[in-house]
Structures are given as structure tokens and as C-alpha cells.
Assembly symmetry: C2
Homo-oligomer: 357 residues x 2
């Protein structure tokens, strides 16, 4: 195992601060850490392994001598600086959507498709949070029974829209309880035309609308799932996927109600439970008699994906429901990114091929 | 049109208070109103059309001279007193689950299956809230294109569990915002073994669990939908229905993410939108470019069912998504019950057949 100089871009954000924690807790040997952000956040002092670390402004030169750069500062920052980092020899794990659909960029959930890492050319994309936890729940089922069709409804947490979105929802909740008016400025989408109350309300819009009536979040769930589970083909028909995404007034941890059809019509609930219980990174929480099922408040702060409420569609053999919950900032973002780096390290792939070969 | 002596049983509850309002606003001519509740609530003074009305304890004799009795005080109260009311000549509209699956009892959403009222024998059951708004969204689609399959995930409001459940969630929300601990005693199900935090959390349990892993709420959505849409047969295979029900921290108005397949594979989004827009009781809110879609906060206090986010499954011809929201206390309970009475009146059926014929 080598020692690495690590940079975190977007270190002051909801995901960035958790990337610091995940690097601290990881098996990666860290020689130096560099915390990067916008000019606005430069100068902020954050802790890494108990030591004060000053956040610096991101520039191309920031990446000189860096081996691993974890990006989570928005797609524009990744587009601008990821090439600069790679040029200087850093492997980039990017948590934005900037490169996810690039056919030359592996989109990886390590427990599901670590083999795709072998093809990386210096950049690996971290999938969208809602996609990650769904493929974590479905992969053990696919491995055992084959998977043909997925219909998902998500109930996503506000932190997926960033720290400011969480603060807005908490402030708005207090105003609601006080009987005061509050004018939202962020939810459901900061850059969109209209803003709505999220406190004590549900918004069936995450990200902007596409021309076909799906939101971009729904589009991501469909095509990222295919790319991850169907050998890199974002338009594969091997698994049919369709999605409805909504935002609920929960700070952290997304819920997903997943309906799925398997190829092996002899599949059983017990077999699915067994597959999930034995899958690395999944925790089975499925005991109706004890009212045990995944919840946001019990998944928060955990790196695993929690799965329960598994039951058959009583009118369609080989069709089932499950309910999964995961911390969208950890397995959905920071932890999956750092885990990708751990796998790269273990697979001896934590270097830029063109620079090293 | 006759004039009626009307009784409301459970008049002090979340639904009961709204039944009073709905009767006030209805086309029914009310000769006298009698507000009934438990011994505990007797003596409470409520307004009916501006007049103070004292709530009385429910006894068999309460129904002497009553023409129409609206029940919403729990299944046990309905089982005890509905037969007493009918015996005394009152037509009962029951908002509990006590008689919904009785083959001799019509289960009615007036816009969908008013014809079933013709068979009533003194008692008409009001369906479960989550069922009502779903069949309201689906019936215009079934009429135009036929309907073969429904897969629904609900995001239900706390008021479905009663006024005390709402108060618990609001108190718990305040405690959460203050960083204080709070011990829930009601959610998700008052009579169940364990109670969980509902504030800023999602609970995938509504009502108790059945032996097959479905909750009773999910069971209701499946079998009530079939009974209403398939000519009274709660086990019909004409329409396949399966459901996942969850509770979100919203006071009033349920959301439903509905995936459905139609028989006519030439069905279009425009055709579905047109069918819904022209269906009595439905309001189409479906304009992604203007971020127009149904939300709990805009459905609260309204009697209509709001429908939007209509779009095709891009890999399955004849399969679509929709998102519907309705006030669970109004169309889901009080308004649908009073609307049943209005239809009975208009259809000259507001009398007990055995007593009248």
C-alpha cells in the first residue's frame, strides 16, 4: 500500500465535510491532505485528524503533487479543474454529474461494478445518491435471480440540495410552527424559476425538468442504473428502469420504494433476504412482527444501505417490493467516493494510466 | 328534495369536525343536526351553521328520528351503533373499515361507482382515504383506455392517524428544532408495540402488519380498489393492484406516486390529461415548464383530487406514471361521505329499503 497526497475539492460543503471524515476513517494511507474550495470559502479552518487545516482556493496549481483528488463542488468546478488535476498526475473521483455519462468514464459503486475501475483513464465518476442506494439493494438480487424491470419512487432528503437547503427547511419549519410566513428561495431547485415550501410538504420535483416530462433526477436514476448494472451501457434494455423522484421534509437519508421483477420466477422473499443479508455494504432490516424496517433517522451517519419490507406482488410471480434507506451524504456521496479510492488502492489502480504507463 | 334529520357520530374528531363543515356546505337540506361522540367528549359545544350545538353521548336511542347518520368514530363504534341507527330508519354512511368488505355493503366513491348505491340496504361504506384519491385519478383513465395494472407508493399525511397524531408530530418537530429529546407514544400506529419519531422522518408502516408482510393499509388499497373499480369484487383479477404505503411528516393531504398500465396501447399523455381534466372532482395540475404539479399545501382544504406528473414509461408501451394529491380529511373522508349522502338524495335512495319498502 502506498501513501497518498489527497485533495478534497468543495471541502466546506455538505458532502465535502463528510469526505474529510470518510478519508480519516478509511484504510487509505494519507501522506498529506489539501482542502480546496471557492475563493469565497478559502481561509476557513477545518480539522483533519485533529489538526487545523486551512482551506485554500482551487487553482490548477493546487493539484501539483496530488495523487488523489475527490471533487464535490458542482459540475462546473469539476469540468474546469478535473482535467487540470489529471494532467498533473492526480486520479480524480468526481461526485458531480459532469462526466457520469462519458463512455470513457467508469461510473462505479464498488460493491456492484468494481471491475469497471480497470478501464479508468484518470477519472472515475461517483453516481447520483439515489442511484447508488438502489443498485446496492438490487445487485444481490440480480446476482441470485437476474433482474428485468425496476419501477422506483423516491422520498429524498433535503440535504441532497446542500447545506443551505437544509437550513432553509429548518427555518421554514420553525416559522410554520410559529404561524409565521416564510418565503423560500431555494427549494425545490435553487436555479429554477419557482420556489415552494418544503417544510411539512412534499415536492415531486428534484432537479430541473427534461422535455419529456421527467426530471433530470429521474433521468439520472434510469440511465445511471443501466450504466452501472448493464456493463457500462446507459441505454441498455437488459434491465428496464423507470422512476418518480420526490423530496420530503427530512434532513438526511433518502427512502426508496422499489418494485422489481426478476428473471427466475422461483425467487422467494427468503432468498432475496438472504442475498441482501450476505451482500457487502447492505444491512437487512426486515421483520414486520417487530416493526423493523429502514428509516431515515436510523440510517443517518451510517455507511451501509438498509433494506426491508420485502414482499411479493401477489398477482405477478417473480415481482416484489422492497424499501431501502441510506445516508445520501455518505453512501450516496462521500463514502462511496472514498470507497472507490480504497478499491483503486487495493487494485493497484490509484494512478493515472497515461502518466504511469 | 326532502329535508333530513342528520347525525354525525365522532363529531369532535379530525374527520368529524370536517363532516360538520361539509354538511354545512352541501346541497342536502338539513332539518336538524345531532352531534354525537363518546361519553368523554359529550358536552363539548361545536358550531353548526353558526349555532352552538352541544355534543351528546352516542346511545342506540340517539338515532330515533334520524334519516342520515355519518359515522367516523372508529370501527368498534360503527359495529356497535350502525345497526341500531339502521334499525331506527337511518341510512348510515360509515367512514370506518368495519363494513367495507361486506359483500352486501356498497363501497362508494360517487364519481366512480355511484351505481353501486342502488344496492344499499341501509349502510354505505366510505373507502379508505388513500384508496379514494387513487381511484379518482384512475377512473377517467380506465373509462377512456381500460386499466390492467396499478403499482402505487403512497406518502401519507399524519392526520390520517387523527388529531392527536398531528399534535404529537408538531410537538416532536419543535423538540427536534430545539435539540430536545421527545418520546413518541402514537406513531406509526397507536395500538402497535413500538412507536417511532415521525418528525423529519419517514415511516413505511401505516396500520398493522398482516401475516404476508403487507400492512393493513396496503391490503385496503389493493382490495378496496378492486371492489370499487371491478363491480364489487374485492378479489377481481381484472385490475392488478399492489401497494407500498408510507407516512411522511406532513399534517394534511396524501401524495401518491401511481404507475399504471392501460389496455389501449395507443393511449397518450395528452389523452390522459384530457380525460382527467374533464372528470368531475379532478383537477389537472400538470405543467412541468411552469413547475406546476400537485402538492399537499395546495390541496389542503380542497375537495378535489389533484393530478399531475403524467408521463409514459419509455420502455413499456401503455404504461404511465402519475402523481396525485388530495386532502385526506375531505375527499379522503368527510367530503366523500357527505357526497355519498348528496348522491343518495339526488337518486332518491336516502332511506332504508326494508323500512321504506
Amino acid at each position: 500500500m502506498s501513501e497518498y497526497n489527497v485533495a478534497i475539492v468543495g471541502a466546506t460543503g455538505a458532502v465535502g465535510t463528510r469526505m474529510i471524515q470518510m478519508v480519516e476513517q478509511s484504510t487509505l494511507k494519507v501522506k498529506t491532505i489539501k482542502l480546496l474550495a471557492s475563493k469565497h470559502s478559502a481561509g476557513t479552518v477545518l480539522k483533519f485528524k485533529g489538526q487545523d487545516t486551512v482551506v485554500e482556493e482551487t487553482t490548477p496549481e493546487s493539484f501539483t503533487g496530488i495523487d488523489l483528488a475527490l471533487f464535490s463542488a458542482g459540475g462546473a468546478v469539476s469540468k474546469q479543474f478535473a482535467p487540470e488535476a489529471i494532467k498533473r498526475g492526480a486520479v480524480v473521483v468526481d461526485n458531480t454529474s459532469a462526466f457520469r455519462m462519458d463512455p470513457n468514464v467508469p461510473l462505479v459503486v464498488p460493491e456492484v461494478n468494481a471491475e469497471a475501475l480497470n478501464e479508468h483513464q484518470g477519472l472515475i465518476a461517483n453516481p447520483n445518491c439515489s442511484t447508488i442506494q438502489m443498485v446496492m439493494a438490487l445487485e444481490p438480487i440480480r446476482e441470485r435471480y437476474g433482474l428485468s424491470r425496476v419501477i422506483v419512487t423516491t422520498l429524498q432528503a433535503v440535504s441532497g440540495a446542500g447545506n443551505r437547503a437544509v437550513q432553509e427547511t429548518l427555518d421554514e419549519s420553525q416559522a410554520y410552527l410559529d404561524g409565521k410566513t416564510y418565503t423560500p428561495k431555494i427549494m425545490p431547485v435553487r436555479g429554477d424559476k419557482k420556489h415552494y415550501q418544503q417544510a411539512f410538504n412534499v415536492l415531486p420535483q428534484i432537479d430541473v425538468f427534461e422535455e419529456d416530462g421527467y426530471t433530470h433526477e429521474e433521468w439520472k436514476m434510469i440511465h445511471e442504473t443501466k450504466k452501472i448494472m448493464c456493463g457500462g451501457d446507459m441505454n441498455s434494455n437488459d434491465i428496464q428502469v423507470t422512476a418518480t423522484c420526490s423530496r420530503v421534509p427530512v434532513p438526511i437519508a433518502h427512502c426508496e420504494s422499489v418494485y422489481f421483477e426478476v428473471l427466475d420466477k422461483h425467487a422467494t422473499v427468503a432468498g432475496i433476504q438472504d442475498a441482501i443479508a450476505n451482500f457487502d455494504g447492505d444491512v437487512l432490516q426486515d421483520d414486520p412482527a417487530e416493526q423493523l424496517y429502514p428509516q431515515p433517522i436510523t440510517a443517518q451517519g451510517r455507511r451501509e444501505t438498509f433494506v426491508g419490507r420485502i414482499r411479493p406482488d401477489q398477482e405477478n410471480k417473480g415481482a416484489f417490493h422492497l424499501w431501502n434507506v441510506a445516508d445520501n451524504l455518505l453512501k450516496g456521496a462521500a463514502w462511496n467516493s472514498v470507497e472507490i479510492a480504497e478499491y483503486l488502492d487495493k487494485m493497484d489502480l490509484l494512478h493515472v494510466p497515461s502518466a504511469a504507463e
